[in-house]
Structure formats: C-alpha cells, structure tokens
C-alpha cells in the first residue's frame, strides 16, 4: 500500500475524530464521526481486508450513525450549542484520557506479540468473506454464539422497555 494513502486516510480519521469532540453542533459531530469511520474503512481496504472495510461502512456509517443522527435531529439542538464549557469537566476529561493512555502504554509494553511483524500473507486474491466465515464458525464458534445470544437478549430488552413506556 502506498504510504501517502495511509497518511491521507489516517490524517482524515484523526482530524474528523477531533472534530467530533470540538464541534458544538451535535449534527456536525455525528457527521464528522461518519467521515472518520469512512477513513477507517479505507485503511482496512488498503490492507486488503475488504470484508472488514465494507462491513465497517455498512454497519457503522450506514446504520448506526444514521440512527444516531435520527435521534439527534429530534432533540433540542439549541440547548447543547449554548452550553458553556465547564472547566472541571475539561480537567476531568483530560485526566481520564491521560490515565487511559498511560495504561494502554503499560499494557502494550509487556505484550511481546505486538512487537513481532505479522507473517506475510501469500500473494494473490483472497476470498476473505469465506475465510472470516470459516474461522467464525469453526475455531471461534462458541464466542460467536454467545455474542448472538447477548444481542438477542438486548433486543428483547429494548422491546420490553419501550412497551412499558407506552402505558
């Protein structure tokens, strides 16, 4: 992959990621997050992981963020825009970020696999949908099923909660 493309998409991700936090308008924040996701998808595609890249767009940019935007548009935007920045909240947020980065660094330092280069894939076309599917349904079958049950429970929970609201 061309390093120029990597830097273009990585910068795009970071700039729009910052824009999500900095923007005072919630709709602008949500749209910045969409662009950030598109940059991430482009990075996946440039690593030949077409399936992950496309699913990133399909699930996050195409479905989750549309729902987010849908909810944000129904809320009162003016209140959010007028709200002043709170110094204590600023400091708290900065502290949490610092602790998180420090912990991440401490963990990654003791993670030997992270320093080894990944063995190169054999050249030529890969059917990555098939490969992901095979791994998912053979090696990682149990976690996959558990996640399925978890999502089913969450769905039923949402239905029950929203039904109770109606009464």
């Amino acid at each position: 992959m061309s390093p120029i493309l990597f830097w273009v998409f990585a910068l795009m991700m970071l700039v729009f990621g910052v824009a999500v936090v900095v923007n005072r308008n919630p709709v602008a924040s949500a749209l910045s997050l969409v662009v950030s996701f598109l940059g991430l998808a482009a990075l996946f595609v440039s690593l030949d992981a077409f399936f992950i890249g496309v699913v990133q767009v399909l699930v996050y940019a195409g479905a989750v963020m549309v729902l987010f935007l849908f909810i944000i548009m129904l809320l009162d935007l003016k209140a959010e825009q007028r709200r002043k920045l709170n110094l204590a909240a600023w400091a708290g947020g900065g502290l949490v970020t610092l602790i998180f980065v420090a912990q991440l660094w401490a963990v990654l330092k003791r993670f030997p696999l992270g320093r080894q280069p990944f063995p190169a894939l054999p050249p030529g076309p890969h059917d990555d949908v098939r490969e992901v599917g095979m791994v998912l349904f053979s090696t990682h079958n149990l976690p996959f099923q558990v996640v399925g049950v978890l999502i089913l429970v969450a769905t039923i929970g949402v239905v029950i909660l929203s039904k109770r609201e109606l009464k």
């Binding site: 969409v34 077409f50 496309v54 479905a63 849908f70 548009m73 129904l74 059917d127 990555d128 949908v129």
Partner: protein, 376 residues
C-alpha cells in the same frame, strides 16, 4: 494489492478503469437517466390516455438546417430542454436554511448512487478487458454499504431546510430506508448461498453455467436441484424487488416526498440544479437497483445462444447491450408500477417491512440452506 503488479500492468489497469468509468457514467448511465425521465412522462401519459411531451426535437435549425430533427416518436429532445431549463433557472436559497448542509445534501444524494455502479459487472469482456470497474470479492456488500450511506443526502436535506415538511420527509426516509435495508440484505442471501460467493462476477458466471436463477431453463433442461431452488429464488426475487422500491423511494413507497401530504418532502426548499441533483440521484439509484436485480436474478449480461466476449469484440458489445436491455425492461416495470398502484399509508409501510418482508426473507434463507443441504 498493487505491490505485485508491475509498472506497465499498473498503468494498464489505471487506463482501462478510467475508460470503463467514463464509458459507464457519461455514455450509458447519465443518458439513460435522462431518457428514463422522458420514458416516465411518456408511459404515464399513455396510461392516462394523454400524449405527454411529444414536440421537442433536436434544434438543428440553429445550425442552419431548414427544420428541427424530430425522430420517430417526437419529444426525444425533451431531456436536453429539461437540462437547459434546470441550469438556467434561478438557484434560490431560502434565508432560514443551514447553508453548508443545504449545499452538501444534493451532492450526497447523487454521489453514492453513482459510486455503487463501480462494482456492477455490466458485460463479459471487451477486447480481453473485464467489463466491471472494480471486480470486488465483496461486491454485493460494497453495494449495500454505499447505498446505505446514500440516506445522508435525504436526511441532511430535510434537517438543513429548517422547515416542517422537509423535516418530516427526512425523518420518514431515514426510518424507511433502515427498515427495508434488512429485508433487502436478507433477500439477497439465498442467491449468495446458491452461487457460493459474494462476488457479483462469480454470481453472473454461476448463472451462465447453470441458467439464470429466475429462469433456470436458459442453460438447458434444469435438474431436480435447480427446480427445487427455483421456489426460494422466486420468493427472494419478489421480496428483493419490493425492498428495492422502498430503498429508491419510488411509489408505492414514496412517503418521504409524498406530494399530497408533504408538498415535496425533503426537497421542498430546493430549486434549480440542486433540485435536479435529487431528481437525478433518484433515477440513478433506480438504474443501480435494476442492475443489481439483473445481476442477482436475471443472469447479468448472459443471453441464451449468445457467446461471451472471448468470441470477439462484437459479442462483447452485444453482451453489454443485453445487460442494459434487461435494465431498461426493469426500469419500465418501475414506471409501470408507479402509475398503477396507490401510495401506502406510513404505518402500513412499516408493518409490511417489519412484519412480512423481513420474516419471509429470513425464513427463505433457511429454506434455501435446507434445499442446498439435501440436494448436494
């Protein structure tokens, strides 16, 4: 991926991709869009016992000829006149809109429906070059992903207009497109199971070898397996087509812009070329949707007794024409339905999507998998 290509191969790839893109967009799809609009007006006129636009010819009298050129049907110059009209009209931006998003929305409505076309195999080979701009092994997922991004154009148009009817249109469109995306995705799964691939090129090749999925006899007498598989394929075709109507906001599901309730829905505040971009985006999405239906169910560029592009450049061209001929038939079907069926009510639309289409498509996946497992 580029690393194992040598330099000359790389430039050949770039050149052919550009040539294919320009051919597909500027010589095929955009003219097809403008003549679909013309066809819409003529077909609706015919169904309502009117004449429709039958006067405008090509104004070659401007070039010194004695009469304008008005070929067989008449009115064939109408799309040109429409385009000139859209470009010359005043582009009025109301004062109460949110300007950056108001400008962004028409672009977002048009671009995804064009980008989608990249993964569609619109012909076999022509002079040894595959007639698909990007031969992705996740072709169908790519198409779903990009078209799901297309909803932002409509949502932003509705929101940034800062006015009640466009806003209602945008809200309706969001929930409609999210609801029907599920049905659309699940309706395509049986085809993927049968062809064993998510690559649109491979799905077409499967249909060349085994007969079109919807008409299995195009490659000789179908066996028991093909006949059994025909049942889920027909169900999938019906649900997929219904969902495609909802995804492209066409009647009977054009709730986002239903003019009797919402003036013109999400594009009420738009005029001139900005409005035209929404209009063109809708028709381009129709062409992309029809192309997808042709690739998945109607054999793509294949036609019985016509060889593929390896038999000579002429047959390559014939294959491309066959593909767009099938797309044109489907476009006629889209128009035909629009002027036949009344509009759904909004709750009926949601009920149809969630309670019927989604469940039928889901059960259909299991039915297909069962048939495939037992007739191995």
């Amino acid at each position: 991926m580029m690393s194992f290509l040598s330099s000359s191969d790389f430039w050949f790839l770039v050149g052919t991709s550009l040539a294919k893109t320009i051919f597909l967009i500027f010589l095929v799809v955009l003219p097809m869009v403008s003549y679909t609009v013309y066809a819409e007006r003529r077909v609706s006129a015919a169904m309502q016992d009117r004449s429709g636009p039958n006067r405008v010819g090509f104004p070659i009298s401007l070039l010194g000829f004695k009469k304008d050129f008005s070929p067989f049907l008449g009115g064939l110059g109408q799309p040109v006149a429409d385009a000139v009209k859209f470009l010359l009209k005043e582009d009025f931006v109301p004062g109460h809109v949110n300007k950056p998003y108001f400008w962004l929305a028409p672009c977002l409505a048009m671009i995804p429906s064009i980008v989608v076309l990249a993964a569609i195999p619109f012909g076999s080979t022509f002079l040894g070059v595959d007639m698909v701009v990007a031969n992705l092994n996740v072709g169908i997922l790519y198409i779903f992903a990009i078209s799901s991004v297309g909803v932002y154009g409509i949502v932003l148009a509705g929101w940034s207009s800062n006015s009640k009817y466009p806003f209602l249109g945008g809200i309706r469109s969001t929930s409609q497109m999210i609801s029907y995306e599920l049905g659309l995705g699940f309706s395509a799964v049986p085809v993927l199971l049968i062809a064993g691939s998510t690559s649109l090129t491979k799905i077409t090749q499967y249909q060349v070898d085994h007969g079109w999925l919807l008409l299995p006899f195009t490659a000789g007498m179908p066996g028991l397996r093909e006949i059994l598989l025909w049942i889920p394929v027909v169900i999938a075709f019906v649900t997929f087509t219904i969902c495609m109507f909802a995804e492209t906001n066409r009647l009977p599901f054009d709730l986002p812009e239903s003019e009797t309730e919402l003036v013109a829905g999400y594009h009420t505040e738009y005029s001139s070329m900005k409005f035209a971009l929404f209009f063109l985006g809708e028709y381009t999405a129709m062409i992309a949707g029809s192309s997808l239906i042709v690739v998945l169910f109607l054999g793509g560029w294949n036609f019985p007794f016509i060889p593929d592009g390896s038999a000579g450049w002429f047959w390559g061209l014939v294959n491309i024409s066959v593909f767009f001929g099938k797309v044109a038939v489907l476009l006629f079907f889209f128009i035909w339905v629009r002027w036949t069926l009344p509009r759904f009510r909004y709750d009926q639309l949601m009920k149809l999507g969630w309670l019927y289409i989604f469940e039928i498509a889901l059960v259909n996946v299991f039915l297909t998998a069962g048939i495939l497992a037992f007739t191995k």
